[in-house]
C-alpha cells in the first residue's frame, strides 16, 4: 500500500521552465517579475492625459452606424481598440465592430479586450490577414486562444490581470485609441448602464478605465432610452459617440440563468475541508470579507461558509468580485453587509445589483489595480482560487493547459492572491487523469509567494512561508502535509506525465499586475 509516505522537494533556484529573455520581438524589453510588491508604484509611465475636448450645446453624439463612428474616430493603421467582456460568450459588439473595421482595409491593429471568448472566433481570420497583429487580454479561451497558441498573431499576445489592465491603461502603458463600450442601455448623450434592456449584464466595472482614458469612446447599445439614462455607470462626460444596433449580445451567453453548487461529492469534500481551513485560520469573525469564483466547488465553499456564519452568528463586511446569485442570497440573509461587484454572473445578481443599494459597483481599477491608492483586493480576508497546475513553490498556472495551449489567463487570480490575507487554491489532486500538483507548472500565472494554502481531496498543504497558518491549522486538528507529499501521491496515481516540448517562439507574454513579466508562453512543437 502506498500513501503519502515520501515527498518530493522543489529544485532550488529557477522555478520557471525556461529563463526569461531580456528582449522579446514585438513586445520590447522585458522587466522581469521581482516580487509581488517589489515594483509597486515604481516605473509608472507618465500619465497621458486625454486631450481635452468640448461638446457644444446642440451638438449630437448619436450616429447612425458603426462605420460613421469609425470615420469620426479617425480609424487608421496601427491603432489600439479596446472592448470589455461583460457580455461574455454572448458578446456581439466586438464582432460587429471588427467586421466594419475589416472593410476599411486598415492593418496592424492592437485589440485590448478584457477577456476573449469562443464567440470571438471571427477574429481569427483578421489575425491571419494581418488586420489584427497585437492583443492584450486578461483571459482567453476558444478559437482565438488556439490561434495565438499556434503563433498566428504577429506580435506576442500580452496576458494581463484584471488589476494590471486598468493600471496599464491609466498609466499609458496601454494607450487606447478607440474604446467600444457595449452598453445594454444608453441615452443618445452617452449615459450608459448595464441593468436595463434585453442584453442587461449588470455591472460594467471592466469598461470604466477604457471609458475614462481612451482618446475616443463609442458606446454601442441595443436599448436606447430618452436622456438621461439612469443609473449612469459610465457618464456622458466620457463618451464621444453613441450608436444603436439591433442586438449587442445573446442573453443566453451573457448571464446564465442560475449558478449552481457542485453535486460532485469530491468537490463537496474539498469545499468542506476548505471551510475548515478558513475556520481554523481565525479570519472568520465579524467583519469577515470573502471572494470566490462562480465555479461549482468555489460556490460549495460559500455554502459551507454560509452555514458556519449562521451557526456562529457572524456578519461579514463584504463579498467581492464577480457576483453570483448565491452571494446575493447571503447578502439578503444578512450574512454580509455589502457586495462589491465588478461583474454579474447570473440574472439574480443583475437584479440585485439594480435594486439593492447594499450591492455596490466597483470598477476594475478599484477592484484590483496595484498602482492605486488602495484596491479592494487589499481588504480581502479570504480568496478562493482555482488552479490548472500548481508547482512545489505554490506557483499557479491558470493560463495554459497541460498541453501548452492557452485556455485561460489570470483574470483576477494574481490580483486577489496578492491582496487577500488568505489566498487558498482549491482543486482535486488529479483531474482527468492529470496530476494538478507538478514539479514545474507549464506557465506561471500567479507567483507562489502570494498563495498561502492548497486544499485538495487528498490533503492540505500550506506554503512554508506561512508557519503561523500551519500552526493554526494543526492546533485545530487539521492535518497538514507538504506539497511535495501531495506531488508524490499524485504521481503515484498517474505516473509522471511527459513534458510538453516547446519551440523558441514566444506567442504570449504573461504580465504580472505591476507590468513586470512573470513568464512567457512559447509555441508548442
Amino acid at each position: 500500500m502506498h500513501g503519502i509516505e515520501f515527498e518530493i522537494a522543489p529544485a532550488s533556484g529557477e522555478t520557471r521552465r525556461q529563463p526569461l529573455p531580456e528582449y522579446i520581438e514585438g513586445y520590447g524589453e522585458v522587466r522581469a517579475f521581482e516580487g509581488a510588491f517589489a515594483n509597486v508604484g515604481v516605473g509608472i509611465s507618465d500619465h497621458r492625459p486625454r486631450r481635452s475636448k468640448s461638446v457644444r450645446p446642440g451638438q449630437t453624439k448619436f450616429l447612425a452606424t458603426i462605420e460613421e463612428a469609425l470615420d469620426r474616430a479617425g480609424l487608421r493603421d496601427g491603432m489600439t481598440l479596446s472592448f470589455h467582456h461583460h457580455l461574455r460568450n454572448g458578446d456581439h459588439v466586438l464582432n460587429l465592430v471588427m467586421e466594419a473595421v475589416a472593410r476599411r482595409g486598415v492593418r496592424d491593429l492592437t485589440l485590448a479586450v478584457s477577456s476573449i471568448f469562443p464567440v470571438h472566433e471571427p477574429l481569427v481570420a483578421l489575425i491571419d490577414a494581418g488586420v489584427v497583429t497585437g492583443l492584450a487580454t486578461n483571459y482567453m479561451s476558444g478559437p482565438v486562444a488556439k490561434a495565438v497558441s499556434q503563433g498566428r498573431l504577429k506580435k506576442p499576445a500580452v496576458m494581463m490581470t484584471h488589476g494590471g489592465r486598468p493600471r496599464a491603461i491609466e498609466s499609458g502603458d496601454l494607450p487606447v485609441d478607440i474604446a467600444f463600450i457595449a452598453a445594454p442601455c444608453s441615452d443618445p448623450y452617452g449615459n450608459c448602464n448595464g441593468v436595463r434592456g434585453k442584453s442587461a449584464c449588470g455591472a460594467l466595472g471592466y469598461a470604466v478605465a477604457d471609458a475614462q482614458y481612451a482618446e475616443v469612446v463609442v458606446a454601442i447599445t441595443d436599448h436606447l432610452v430618452a436622456y438621461p439614462a439612469s443609473p449612469a455607470e459610465i457618464t456622458q462626460t466620457m463618451v464621444d459617440y453613441v450608436v444603436e444596433v439591433p442586438s449587442i449580445g445573446d442573453p443566453q451567453g451573457i448571464v446564465s440563468g442560475t449558478t449552481r453548487i457542485t453535486r460532485d461529492p469530491v468537490g463537496l469534500a474539498i469545499a468542506h475541508k476548505a471551510a475548515q481551513v478558513i475556520h481554523a485560520s481565525g479570519l472568520l469573525e465579524d467583519g469577515f470579507s470573502f471572494q470566490t469564483g462562480a465555479g461549482g466547488t468555489s460556490l460549495a465553499v460559500a455554502a459551507e461558509l454560509k452555514d458556519m456564519m449562521k451557526e456562529a452568528g457572524i456578519v461579514g463586511s463584504f463579498a467581492a468580485g464577480g457576483i453570483t446569485g448565491y452571494l446575493v442570497d447571503m447578502l439578503e440573509e444578512g450574512l454580509f453587509n455589502n457586495l462589491l461587484d465588478v461583474q454579474c454572473f447570473d440574472l439574480r445578481a443583475v437584479e440585485s445589483y439594480r435594486d439593492n443599494p447594499r450591492h455596490l459597483p466597483m470598477d476594475a481599477s478599484m477592484y484590483a489595480n496595484p498602482f492605486s491608492k488602495g484596491a479592494v483586493v487589499n481588504q480581502l480576508d479570504v480568496m478562493i482560487l482555482g488552479a490548472t497546475e500548481i508547482d512545489l513553490n505554490f506557483n499557479v498556472n491558470v493560463t495554459t493547459g497541460s498541453d501548452g495551449t492557452i485556455m485561460g489567463g489570470s483574470g483576477g487570480h494574481s490580483d486577489t492572491a496578492a491582496g487577500a490575507k488568505l489566498a487558498m487554491v482549491v482543486t482535486q489532486l488529479v483531474k482527468a487523469r492529470l496530476p494538478i500538483v507538478r514539479r514545474h507548472v507549464t506557465t506561471i500565472t500567479t507567483p507562489g509567494e502570494t498563495v498561502d494554502v492548497l486544499v485538495t481531496d487528498h490533503g492540505i498543504a500550506v506554503n512554508p512561508a506561512r508557519q503561523d497558518l500551519i500552526a493554526a491549522l494543526e492546533a485545530s486538528g487539521l492535518k497538514v502535509v507538504t506539497i511535495g507529499a501531495l506531488l508524490a501521491l499524485a504521481e503515484s496515481m498517474t505516473g509522471i506525465p511527459d513534458e510538453v516540448t516547446f519551440s523558441d517562439d514566444i506567442v504570449a507574454v504573461v504580465e504580472y499586475r505591476d507590468g513586470t513579466v512573470v513568464d512567457v508562453v512559447r509555441r508548442t512543437k
Binding site: M1, R263, P265, A269, H279, D457
Partner: protein, 312 residues
C-alpha cells in the same frame, strides 16, 4: 477503542474514479460493491479492479468493506476467494441467512487452513439481512460466525420479500429494525440501518437517521456521498445531552471524593444507569472531537468551554 461505523457508503466496484476518491468522502466505512452495482457482464472486471485497488491503493483511515455476490451464485465464491487474497477490513455478505453465513465461514476457515497454515485472516464479516427469514433468524445468524462484527439491514429487499410497499413513514420495516437493533445489542455487534433512497431529500434523511439512532442503530448505510454528512449529523450526540453527561461525571467525581454513595444533580437522583449512559455519551463525544481532553473539567463553565460547537 471500537471504531465508529456511523456511515457505510456504497461505492460501485466497477468505477475506478470513485474507488480512488472513496477515502475522501468522509464516510467511516466504504462498501466497494461487487453485487447490485455491477452488471453481470462486468462481474469479473469489477472483481479485478477492487482486488487491484486493495493491493495498491491507500484508503487511509477509512474502513474498507467489500460486498461480494451471494455465496449461492457463481460469482460469490469467486469474489470470496479473490477477497481473501487481499483481505479488506470487512466482507459484507448479502442475502444473509444462517446457511449462507455458515457457508462463508466454512470457506474462510478452509482457506486459512490451506493457504495460511491455520493463521486467521484479518477480515471480519458483516451480515446483510434483507429477507423475512434473515430478520426472524437474526440471533442464529449472529451466532453462526465469530467473525461477524455487525449487521446491515436492507429494507428494500426485505419489503420486497414481504410483498409490501416501502413508504416514507417506514411502518413496514419498524418490526425488522427493532428486532435487528436489539439482536445486535445482545451480541455486542454494530447495527447499521437501511439506506435512505431519496438522495435529494436531506431533511427526510436526517429525520430517518435520527429515528435509527433512537432505535439503537449504531449507523446507517449511505448510497450517495452527499448523505454522509447528514447521517453523521443525525448520529451526533445532542450537545445539550453531552453537556449534561459531562456534569453527571463531574458530580460523580465530587460525590466519590466526599465519600457519598448516591448523589443528585439539578435536584434529580443520579443512579448507575444514568452514570453508565453518561460515560458512553462522553466517550462518543470525545471520539467525535466534540469534547476536548476528558472529563477532568472541574466546573460547568469548563465543561461548556470544552464542548466544540457541534462541528461533526
Amino acid at each position: 477503542m471500537k471504531r465508529l461505523r456511523r456511515t457505510m457508503l456504497f461505492v460501485p466496484g466497477n468505477n475506478p474514479g470513485m474507488i480512488q476518491s472513496a477515502s475522501v468522502l468522509g464516510a467511516d466505512s466504504v462498501i466497494l460493491d461487487l453485487e447490485d452495482a455491477v452488471s453481470l457482464s462486468e462481474k469479473d472486471s469489477a472483481r479485478k479492479l477492487v482486488t487491484k485497488a486493495l493491493r495498491s491503493w491507500s484508503f487511509k483511515t477509512t474502513e474498507v468493506t467489500v460486498r461480494i455476490n451471494p455465496i449461492t451464485t457463481v460469482y460469490g465464491p469467486l469474489d470470496l476467494e479473490a477477497m481473501l487474497e487481499v483481505q479488506p477490513d470487512i466482507l459484507l455478505i448479502p442475502k444473509a441467512e444462517v446457511a449462507s453465513i455458515q457457508e462463508v465461514e466454512a470457506r474462510i476457515s478452509a482457506y486459512e487452513a490451506a493457504k495460511l497454515g491455520g493463521e486467521a485472516v484479518r477480515t471480519k464479516l458483516f451480515a446483510l439481512i434483507e429477507s423475512a427469514a434473515g430478520v426472524e433468524h437474526v440471533h442464529e445468524i449472529l451466532a453462526s460466525s465469530p467473525r461477524l462484527v455487525g449487521v446491515l439491514f436492507g429494507g428494500e429487499d426485505y419489503t420486497s420479500d414481504m410483498g409490501v410497499a416501502r413508504t416514507m413513514g417506514g411502518m413496514e420495516i419498524e418490526y425488522a429494525r427493532n428486532k435487528v437493533a436489539v439482536a445486535c445489542k445482545v451480541h455486542g455487534v454494530d447495527a447499521v440501518d437501511t439506506p435512505f433512497t431519496d438522495v435529494d431529500n436531506h431533511e427526510g434523511l436526517l429525520a430517518d437517521a435520527r429515528k435509527a439512532k433512537a432505535m439503537g442503530f449504531t449507523g446507517k448505510a449511505a448510497i450517495n456521498p452527499r448523505q454522509v454528512g447528514i447521517i453523521h449529523k443525525g448520529f451526533a450526540p445532542d450537545p445539550v445531552e453531552v453537556r449534561y453527561a459531562l456534569r453527571v461525571l463531574e458530580a460523580m467525581e465530587e460525590a466519590e471524593a466526599e465519600g457519598k454513595g448516591v448523589f443528585s444533580l439539578d435536584g434529580k437522583m443520579v443512579d448507575a444507569p444514568i452514570i453508565q449512559r453518561a460515560r458512553q455519551m462522553v466517550a462518543l463525544a470525545e471520539k467525535l472531537g466534540m469534547v476536548k481532553g476528558s472529563t477532568a473539567s472541574k466546573d460547568e463553565k469548563n465543561a461548556n468551554d470544552s464542548l466544540e460547537g457541534g462541528l461533526v
